[in-house]
Symmetry: D2
Subunit: 330 residues, 4 copies
């Protein structure tokens, strides 16, 4: 059994990690930490987990083979020294995902720049071999995961793309904030950021595409859809072939069908699972490619991908504890 | 033109007052106050009101014929001295709705007990004549309005009733709070209070029925439904007759129909209007009456009723500035 | 491996059965039937199941150890002869749940009355021993499951109860209907049936309590909450003790806590799981008990309970393929 | 008083017309037609309108000064002969909005081509003078209204634009359809059409911009947001100036603000009103303009704009019966 600790377990990503790890056949949870809720049972914060015999602690002296850092952006780099060397670390913040240059440009100052190059970018479909040997893994962002996996087959062929994102409220975290209360946040199509979104940095690094994000909050608790537009002379058939590389990927489903009900990726179809669904259309008249990429932001966009990385880094079957079919309708 | 001021205009009831008063043909808004947002334009808080040339102030030296107090419960009694005598006051808090005895039992200590008897309980369908002459009006609560209007015809015949309420998030006000953020508050059927709810006090006072409230928060931004159960030997026909008293009420719709699509009151059918829809069913086998009462909590359950009270108190047509048909579907 | 067939697999309960059975470690799905979609891949109807290599068939000549009938009410009794004797049958319709007397009173004529007594009522927490030996199992309704499990400890002590139900749209099935389209069905608190609801029959049979259902459709896709009211002299402590009988039940969670965030059962906390959460409150002033019972209508209220019954009837660990923690937030 | 008839009054646009006309101070409704509901009271279909003394008829021999055709696309051209010459006609279908060439390309065959040129395109902000004299008015589509008003200032300067639309369920009409039922349609981000959307035709005609629509259904009952992307060298200041032309428009609000809470157009802020909110951002790094345009699809995108056209065509104040502030929060 792998001993796992979750640091910062009171947020949504942290709660989802506890949920997935508690069901994982090869994992034993040895600690879940929270400053604010130290001493409380886990279900006081995550009511779905009632029945799990776990309490939050603020003591970092735990015994772990793998430590998941699920703390806010900017926190990981401040606390990581406490854990270095004691266990494999999977960081779910944005602190170690991109090069120092990109970090400075999109985020600002970094207090631990010497560590950045030690981290492997934990997107298994692209960096599986490096993850196998990694001690430090930077888990990708949810928006970035959706966009990178869709654009990666076009690396080298496409230089820029418009990315129109539709995201859910759980991506904003478990924080009080007037703009997030139910009367304000329900039934919106709210432009969270018109352009220059931080998650572009990961896309640039991994695909060389200058992705231009515009992020819209919609009335979802979970899930996201990225709609990606770029110019290219191709055909629907050739597009299809470009995605063949993913045919053996356990968590990518290429959505392609003819006749009857035509479906394209929709976050509704992946909720509760580690799948990312990718689809495409070719607008011949305007020589435009349109890609669609949907995932559950807390699973493939967060905790699920972290568990996938753990499986790989510990030599387990990559799908262990992650083979959940999406819950539908929901 | 009636000069109107809204004290505490940054909450949802306050915003709805501003909206209704701005459209009222006989009203001129002379001040909207907010400590937190003083100096800001109204649309910074209420984005629907973009285009209205109003700013929040924290100066109480305004010129007004009527002052609406839309401050939190417990605040009105602290600040009311500033306004007494200068204008008619319509208080939307719970501070002056019930007798001192009931107040102490359901709320606690009162700092202005001598004023309680000076207030008229502003439920026009019951107290219209007193409202005409009132200087001080206590505007009823949203839950109480729905339940009192449904139960009033049974006053004297019924001694207790079970009241199962389904309420919306706007009733909780515009306050940051982790339990209220969208991921936590969406898709709930959350028991807000299993029993001994404060709004029972108004029902007891107005109907002599010991109403026993259980309040459930559901996934609505606006509206509420009260389902009311009590034992009684009667018939559907006799029940119908008991509601004849409301036939001339401009804002009560009795929902009764046979054949085809059978509808009972639903908050969805009254949103955006000052209507309360009341329906009923008789369970002959168990000799039970079931009443259903639906309204928009911010209008008939708040700002709309306050404007209705203003119209009456100033001798205007009671429906002036309130004849909006509900927006549907929504 | 148990060979399982799902007859009527295109509805929501059918789809959920396929989902759960496909993930079950001891089950092999040998057939999924649908007249309307025969020949189509499963994901044409259930888009979450993309990737499963299954097609609908309308051929009943399949090889199965257990047959799940997930057809509409009234259909099971018409087609059951085709399957009798060939396999264990778990019927998810209402056709064989209650005695002929109750059936006639609540539903009408029965075309297979001689079979009713052959069926075991498949509520494991009450009939586990009979289910172990059963060939024919009638899977309980979703509303009935919630209410029976809450009321069962009071069997003999309580004669009638008011049951106010809040239910979701998936309970209405996958059928086109103007009243069910999104613009009409969103944001409702719609009284589906004021009284005399069919699901009362199961409650009467199992608990001897004359439960009086009033069913409200709320804006949920999954989940239900039953709020149950009855008069009784007791105490909160004694109420708690009455639920001790459930302490070893793997799928019942008794919700009881003091201090901090007070939570009562909410469907939001059980979605995606086979749990039923039961809570209670005692209103001493009015000598009233209030029970709260929440579950996922497609799992513990349908497909999950059917798999639980299968596990028991085939001598497997009762929780096999069902130990999913609820997905939250959702 | 203007005598008004609504042909096809049982749909959502028809219901909204009845609601607005019933509140209009200069209108008397003389007929509302529906084949399916002839003889029924209006509230059997539109439950918000309970209390209005109107019944559906299937008799076209009514007395009217203005006739609103709110029938499905393709129907208007089949029935229009019945009404020609008897009254001003405002057609809310797509039948007479675009030139024959565009119609053939985007829709197909037209059975009344000789009438197309007789119609004025009823977008008051662009065609006010022609509408004043018009007998036949083609009311714009909801998506087209949002996009044209945003793009019109760029006419001549921009040749193509990517248009990512987020639309609500009421735009799909009041029709039964499995894909539209609440369990299927809730919580989606469903690509309704990847490209080549019919509403592009109106945009091309009015702005000469080759708008490339991708339409996403989101979990809204009302409202839509268009996000529009195109390349252009400009500045935020110059963009602002381009919208000055709209400063005197009563129903356009330009959303531009600095500091504090930054808001951009959101359908949530216009529901229940005839406003269209337009905002913009300039991405200097990529020399891209991003426009945002939000409206209530049943009001400014349908019935409200039709009433605005009626007001203009009958010489009334353009805002009469339309000065409703948006309902918020909702």
């Amino acid at each position: 059994m792998i001993k796992a600790a979750v640091v910062g377990a009171s947020g949504y990503i942290g709660g989802e990690l506890v949920r997935l790890l508690a069901m994982h056949p090869e994992v034993e949870i040895t600690a879940i930490t929270s400053r604010r809720y130290a001493g409380k049972k886990v279900h006081k914060v995550h009511p779905n987990l009632r029945g799990l015999n776990l309490r939050f602690t603020n003591d970092y002296n735990f015994d772990a083979d793998v430590i998941f850092l699920a703390v806010p952006h900017g926190e990981s780099m401040k606390i990581i020294d406490e854990f270095l060397g004691s266990a494999k670390i999977i960081d779910l913040s944005a602190d170690f995902r991109v090069s120092l240059d990109l970090y400075k440009r999109y985020y600002g100052e970094h207090v631990k720049p010497e560590l950045i190059d030690e981290f492997v970018y934990g997107l298994p479909e692209i960096h599986r071999e490096e993850i196998k040997k990694a001690e430090l893994i930077a888990n990708p962002g949810c928006n970035a995961t959706a966009v990178i996996l869709a654009l990666y087959p076009f690396k080298g062929d496409v230089s820029e793309a418009i990315v129109d994102l539709k995201v859910s409220s759980s991506a904003g975290g478990r924080r009080e904030n007037v703009a997030s209360i139910h009367p304000e946040r329900s039934h919106v199509v709210r432009v969270y950021k018109a352009f220059h979104h931080r998650h572009e940095a990961e896309v640039i690094q991994e695909t060389n595409v200058k992705a231009q994000f515009t992020v819209h909050s919609v009335d979802l608790v979970r899930g996201l859809l990225a709609t990606i537009y770029f110019k290219m002379e191709t055909s629907e058939k050739d597009l299809y072939k470009m995605f063949f590389r993913y045919l053996k990927e356990p968590f990518i489903r290429i959505v392609k069908e003819k006749g009857g009900i035509q479906r394209l990726p929709d976050p509704k179809y992946v909720i509760g699972s580690n799948f990312v669904d990718i689809g495409f259309a070719y607008d011949e008249e305007n020589q435009r490619v349109i890609l669609f990429s949907a995932l559950d932001n807390l699973i493939k966009g967060g905790a699920g991908q972290a568990v996938q990385n753990m499986n790989i880094a510990f030599g387990l079957d990559e799908t262990l504890g992650l083979s959940y079919l999406p819950v539908y309708p929901i």
